[in-house]
Symmetry: C2
Subunit: 509 residues, 2 copies
């Protein structure tokens, strides 16, 4: 019996000396609570003794009321369980909740009532479910190999930490994050990513998305201009739209964001958002020359840079490349990382490395957004890093993803033709295949999603229209066997869409 | 030795066949990493064997490089520990981090660089630390009795849940929250608060502050008008400012927000924010008549209502009063709750009960803000509620707070005079004492904070200036003994500020 009602104090207002006797007041309260759906069929109710004590009345009126309710079929008593609201209520008038049913309401809140929602919310209201982000289907982007995460170690650390919870770990924490975790993150990004920082510059977030939100709140006024990579990360674009920013799309080429286009279009930009380690979604790495051009342009132009280093951890054919932040001598880069891809998404922890003169403002923004991150989760993660489990896990995952990437590339080549155009397989957890010009990637993705293959259409990352379509395939969370099956299904979808055999279809012409 | 560097793969780029021999490349990488502060004094470095394998080179060049680094004093080797960066580096050129030191930067980011931060961030930058929110001093507002939280039960539930973590609990979860927790919250607010809802209307948040942020993103465009109680909750005001809303202060009287003033000033308001159960900070309960007036006004005016029911759980002299949401027949109330006060702040979980036609938009906003809440935390809380621990904890805390409230009221009366004006002691975890007209509450609060007594000045909750000052005393987290000590210290501060004996000073004239 899943009914929590019995354990809580029910808000029954007893009026002593009223013309209505107490047992009747109790009876009527339950009757209307059931009729209005506040108490549900099958839900436990307090024992008569418990309720009498809660209400400060003798047990007799409660027993009387309960008997009446039982007699009329509102209550039923089960031996060993207690008294509960009857599973089948005899009256017609029962409505389960007076609020409109979720099924029948329309997306528009403003039509019938005159009340309005915001412009941005109207977009959220209309935006269709994207079938390729559902569940954990094959090739879902950004999903790591969860079945290889060392759950045992993690559980053990949680158990150890939870036994050592101190009072101060229950109280309000620092908006910047849990001190030891900030130290560990600073050590990590300094050593591995060449980031130049002190622990005082680390702000612990609930992930990249919140990192972006904090940065935008601190840097942008409504209407300010933001340059973004095109194609680029849709989550960032959403965040910019939410901040009422004017979004300026900037092309990317094989070396990353095209700085000459920034020169032309980005003159008034307050901010530029880039993914230098492994461009999202195309997967190329920003060249050293481009990095210096970008930093120089930003310095001259007075523009902030957000460096989203979201899956820099996995590089296969060459050593990791140091961060843009580490090359910046003007404290203009906000470096952003997340543990969602390298640990697991449900952890909800990430970080910002802030220029020192943004610390106070970003602390204010985090405080205003959600005060601070859950302390226990931060403490367990710190322990996981400190004991070396994090580094070991990264190493093991790198080996695993190398294998999966290899399997995917070879399956794509043998199924779609050896000249299939693949982009971005040198790093990260996903790659892109480009479709023949004119083929609609949204059609292919929707079709594939219904077959359990979650390939994200490249067009969903693009701002400019009419560009060549493609498919983004995440391989982090997919076994080699599923990769083979998935690619075969994908070939069928492509053949159907293109109306011809695929071996010609995908060749670069 | 707290140095995580050793466990990670270092980004050393080895160029084979370069003129610089491999051992020299390794040596130079370490030298500059240490000089630039990317590796810190005392931090462990990988073993020579480990590094050789990582780099795919033979062990000889690594051993050579390490010997050189040791010889020059960069490295030191400790038996049983391994090789680490020397604690005292011999060269002058070592800079610990090239970024400016947090201590020396000024609050203004724009001055020296031409780069700007947002208007709202400029406020965060300037806002002084409020001494009365520091730490866990006596009378800190919103701090529950953490030493009475059943940590043992909580730890045990965490341990049980963490052993049962499934792969799907590691993956991306629903933006609306963990299904079973949404059910449990719906059961709870229906039964105890008279809220009319289905679990589908529950959105799990990281607390009230995020609940507000989501609501504002969905309801407000920049420049929209919002009516707030004055005095009112500063956290809400901050959130409205962040949303670039125009804030319209509305007076409160003994029955809550003054609807006649809403009629006069709120004509174009998109939203009104209220705390009907226990007005923040004054503590009165909105009367039934006022509730109906407010709902009617909102219906006619096309205005949304946010009902922040933040400490409705604790009512002492009468039974809890059902929520405004439960009286609303037009689906215009967004009901907001948090577990910070009734569980513990570091849990970071709360909820919104949404009108059905706002579900899609609010899901979109949550997704855009931080995707979803950590799954394990939600699962443990659900278990805590489901097994009845939550209800038991609430009951115990209610008894404890009754005792603390009584001790506080009597200590105030015996120290400050029996006619001291106290407001809002019927419910919640704080009360307000009003100061004599003209006495500056900020001075008293600042003075008291330096003596370890964290009383919040009423003026910090006010928008209109020149109103009577007061002090907000949280008593949830304070033992009876500390209450007595705290009140005595407070009397001293008041006497100093008012320059006279207190027994006259606080009398209502």
């Amino acid at each position: 019996v899943r009914g929590v009602a019995a354990t809580f104090t029910l808000p029954i207002a007893i009026e002593r000396g009223a013309s209505l006797p107490i047992h009747r007041q109790i009876y009527e309260w339950f009757q209307s609570a059931i009729a209005e759906g506040r108490l549900r069929p099958g839900g436990l109710v307090p024992s008569s003794r418990g309720l009498a004590s809660e209400l400060g009345v003798s047990r007799i009126p409660v027993v009387n009321a309960y008997e009446q309710l039982r007699a009329e079929g509102y209550f039923e008593t089960l031996v060993g369980v207690g008294t509960r609201v009857a599973k089948f209520i005899p009256i017609q008038s029962v409505t389960v909740g007076k609020a409109p049913q979720p099924g029948v309401i329309s997306g528009s809140a403003s039509k019938s009532t005159g009340r309005q929602i915001s412009r941005r919310a109207a977009v959220w209201n209309k935006s269709p479910m994207q079938p390729w982000v559902n569940g954990r289907s094959t090739f879902r982007v950004s999903l790591p190999a969860l079945d290889h995460f060392p759950i045992d170690i993690w559980s053990k650390l949680i158990a150890v930490q939870s036994k050592a919870i101190s009072r101060s770990m229950l109280a309000y924490g620092d908006a910047m994050g849990y001190g030891p975790l900030r130290e560990a993150i600073a050590d990590y990004v300094r050593a591995v990513r060449g980031v130049r920082c002190e622990a005082s510059q680390i702000l612990v977030t609930t992930g990249s998305q919140q990192g972006l939100q904090i940065a935008l709140q601190v840097l942008l006024n409504p209407g300010d201009r933001v340059c973004v990579e095109d194609p680029g990360y849709p989550g960032a674009r959403q965040a910019f739209a939410m901040a009422d920013a004017e979004i300026i799309p900037i092309k990317v080429d094989t070396e990353g964001i095209v700085v000459s286009e920034l020169l032309r279009k980005g003159g008034l930009a307050k901010l530029v958002y880039v993914t230098p380690s492994h461009q999202y979604p195309m997967g190329m790495t920003m060249s050293a020359a481009r990095r210096m051009q970008l930093l120089n342009w930003a310095a001259r132009n007075g523009t902030w840079i957000i460096e989203d280093d979201y899956d820099s951890e996995y590089r296969y054919d060459s050593r990791p490349i140091a961060s843009l932040q580490g090359l910046d001598s003007n404290a203009r880069v906000l470096y952003m990382g997340t543990f969602s891809n390298v640990m697991f998404p449900a952890l909800r922890l990430g970080y910002l490395v802030l220029p020192p003169n943004l610390i106070a403002a970003c602390r204010g923004a985090k405080n205003c957004m959600d005060i601070f991150c859950p302390t226990l989760n931060q403490a367990v993660l710190e322990q996981f890093i400190h004991e070396g489990h994090f580094a070991r896990h990264l190493r093991r995952m790198r080996m695993l993803y190398i294998e999966r990437r290899k399997a995917l590339v070879s399956a794509l080549q043998s199924n779609l033709g050896s000249s299939v155009e693949i982009s971005g397989a040198e790093a990260g957890m996903h790659l892109v295949i480009l479709l023949r010009p004119g083929v609609d990637d949204l059609t292919v993705s929707t079709d594939a999603a219904h077959k359990g293959v979650a390939v994200m259409p490249l067009s969903s990352c693009r701002i400019s229209l009419g560009e060549r379509g493609g498919l983004i395939l995440g391989y982090g969370g997919v076994s080699v066997q599923s990769i083979h099956d998935g690619v075969r299904k994908l070939r069928d979808c492509l053949e159907r869409t293109e109306g011809q055999t695929i071996r010609q279809g995908l060749r670069c012409e």
